[in-house]
């Protein structure tokens, strides 16, 4: 059993070293409206100025144009604006987000944009008709996605005017402009110029709300206590463990107590630079580890990426003492029958939680580091 776990430890370690995840190229952020991705009638005057002229001058029709790329979704917010240079006196403009392929199926009449109807394809906003607040020449209109609250939000002349739940996918949402008229001119801003809406303040407010949401989560003090306890036990900090563990939350077996004492001794020997003394103790206490065929030393190699056997023992003496101490600790833990999996030997629950937190944050596109948290004040 223990031998299997040690082999598993090696596999995990070697995989950590060798298998670097393929970095998929992230899509670029939107930078311009794409006339090829539209229902026609749009002419790009420049990368940020778009004119629309109806092909049926006597009959207003719905026409739609999308940005060249979808909104990046690994952020807290995404936002873009248009400046309505000419709204046309009969005109109606809507702004929002749609999934790319809807253009294949769109029916060309404004009536098909059904007010308040749930849709799995997009959301467009054209102002509040009840108050007569539609979009006119000279207006700056903005549309955004708040990924933390899962909402679309809309702005007019720098003010937040409306928000609506986002029931769509967060991926593949293209900034979209729709017009129902004969002539329009608009300037689009994907962040190349300052926005009329104060996005920085809005983001700061959203982050504060997020922080408040975090603080409102209730967490039993027992959870923190047991994580500290298991970390001290896992790392072999025996004196701290005994001092901290005044009221043990779970019994420790004799086997665990033995390895705790041994691991504490081995860690101290190594950290004091007495590697020979530590290896002698490992031979004395855990001959089964050595018999597995220098796995301990192979385990250490992943820090250096060197696989020549004759260099193994030399490396053990040259590597950082902390690394060596952690490696020896993991292998001694593998002799404990209570350790069911390799990861239990390699990483304490505390470390696994911090890895999970970092992975979640990074997946969302946030550059999260535990060490940065120490520079923050509550």
């Amino acid at each position: 059993m223990a031998g299997t776990i040690r082999k598993e430890i090696l596999k995990v370690v070697l995989r950590e070293t060798n298998e670097k995840e393929e970095k998929k190229k992230e899509a670029e952020a939107p930078s311009k409206l794409d006339t090829s991705n539209s229902t026609g009638g749009f002419v790009a005057v420049s990368t940020d100025i778009m004119k629309y002229t109806s092909v049926y001058p006597d009959k207003p029709e719905l026409n739609v144009i999308l940005a060249d790329e979808p909104a990046p979704w690994k952020n807290l917010l995404y936002y873009f604006e248009i400046y309505v240079k000419d709204a046309d006196f009969k005109g109606k403009i809507a702004i929002g987000f749609t999934l790319a392929l809807f253009l294949m199926n769109i029916e060309p009449w404004w009536e098909d944009l059904i007010a308040g109807h749930e849709s799995s394809h997009g959301v467009l906003y054209s102002g509040d008709e009840d108050t007569g607040s539609t979009f006119l020449s000279g207006d700056v209109i903005g549309a955004g996605i708040n990924y933390s609250t899962n909402e679309f939000f809309f702005c007019k002349n720098g003010e937040l005017v409306h928000s609506v739940p986002n029931n769509l996918s967060n991926r593949g949402l293209y900034p979209t402009i729709a017009v129902l008229s004969q002539h329009e001119e608009m300037h689009v801003n994907f962040g190349q110029k300052p926005f009329a809406f104060n996005l920085k303040d809005f983001e700061a407010r959203e982050r504060r709300k997020q922080q408040q949401k975090i603080e409102e989560i209730s967490l039993s003090p027992q959870v923190t206590y047991s994580l500290i306890r298991s970390y001290l036990l896992h790392s072999g900090y025996e004196d701290t463990f005994n001092s901290f563990d005044v009221v043990p939350s779970s019994p420790i077996t004799d086997e665990q107590t033995n390895t705790l004492n041994h691991r504490s001794t081995l860690r101290q020997l190594i950290m004091n630079g007495n590697v020979d003394g530590a290896f002698a103790k490992v031979h004395e206490w855990y001959p089964q580890i050595v018999e597995v065929g220098s796995q301990l030393c192979i385990y250490l190699l992943h820090y250096y990426g060197c696989y020549k056997f004759e260099l193994i023992f030399k490396l053990a003496y040259e590597m950082p003492l902390e690394v060596l101490a952690n490696a020896v600790n993991a292998f001694v833990l593998s002799t404990d029958p209570h350790m069911e999996e390799a990861k239990d030997c390699l990483h304490s629950p505390l470390e696994r939680l911090l890895k999970q937190l970092t992975a979640c944050k990074r997946y969302e596109g946030e550059d999260f580091l535990v060490e940065k948290e120490f520079s923050k004040r509550d």
Binding site: G96, A100, V164, T224, L357, E364
Partner: protein
């Protein structure tokens, strides 16, 4: 409200896939986890921060010796802080006030709310011990003047004095003031004030990181199905429900 949502009748198959939640397999997620390196030094700092903030002075000293992690405040001050906390928790409020002033007289000078709450706790202890006359005199001389300056103090004083109107406190609507939890609340407030005066956070970092994890997982749930941790104590990864 003119909110226009596009209704498209025929949904392309590929679009349906784009709109669905991304599935991240255990293998893919474990690769991501293996790319994350958590430094031992940072974990040790988190542990030391917890021991120091929560007042485990002996454990903090041992941890300093064993791990080489230096605490960010003088460990001797933890002993003093714990003595203050203990005094409040056992009802010796005068002793606690004296200890706080020995530690740093500015703490109570610059924090009138804390000082009022300590005096209020002192009044509660007098009432608990049946010293009715002494309690009334103390309320009039020490607390009433502060109540005149601050409406919320006055309301709290009135609630506290209401304890005297009931012989049987179990029927008293403000009986919870005599609970041990009230002592703990005051002790916690003093503890936080001392930590703040030492330029130290009043809460340990680890619980807020754990809350951050719960929040981050909830947020990621909206976008993807992935192996998540449901039991924080064991940190076991559970496969995504497909």
């Amino acid at each position: 409200m003119s909110l226009f949502l596009l209704e498209i009748r025929q949904l392309a198959e590929i679009e349906a896939m784009a709109a669905s939640k991304k599935l991240i397999t255990r293998e893919e997620w474990e690769k991501k986890l293996s790319d994350v390196k958590i430094r031992k030094e940072d974990m040790n700092k988190l542990v030391m921060n917890f021991l120091v903030t929560e007042g485990y002075v002996e454990a903090a000293e041992k941890f300093r010796m064993e791990s080489g992690t230096e605490p960010d405040i003088d460990l001797a001050t933890i002993t003093d802080r714990m003595a203050v906390k203990k005094a409040v928790q056992s009802g010796n409020v005068e002793d606690a006030i004296e200890k706080v002033n020995d530690l740093n007289p500015e703490i109570l000078d610059t924090n009138p709310q804390l000082f009022f709450h300590l005096q209020q706790q002192r009044l509660i202890e007098l009432i608990r011990n049946g010293k009715v006359e002494e309690a009334l005199e103390f309320a009039q001389e020490e607390l009433a003047p502060r109540g005149e300056e601050n409406q919320s103090f006055l309301e709290e004083l009135e609630r506290t004095v209401a304890l005297l109107a009931f012989e049987d406190v179990s029927n008293c609507p403000v009986g919870e003031l005599l609970d041990i939890s009230q002592r703990l609340k005051t002790a916690s407030e003093v503890n936080a004030a001392i930590l703040t005066s030492q330029s130290h956070e009043k809460d340990p970092k680890l619980p807020s990181l754990l809350k951050m994890l719960l929040c981050a997982q909830n947020q990621l749930d909206e976008k993807a199905a992935y192996p998540r941790v449901n039991d924080l104590s064991t940190a076991t990864l559970e496969d995504p429900a497909v």
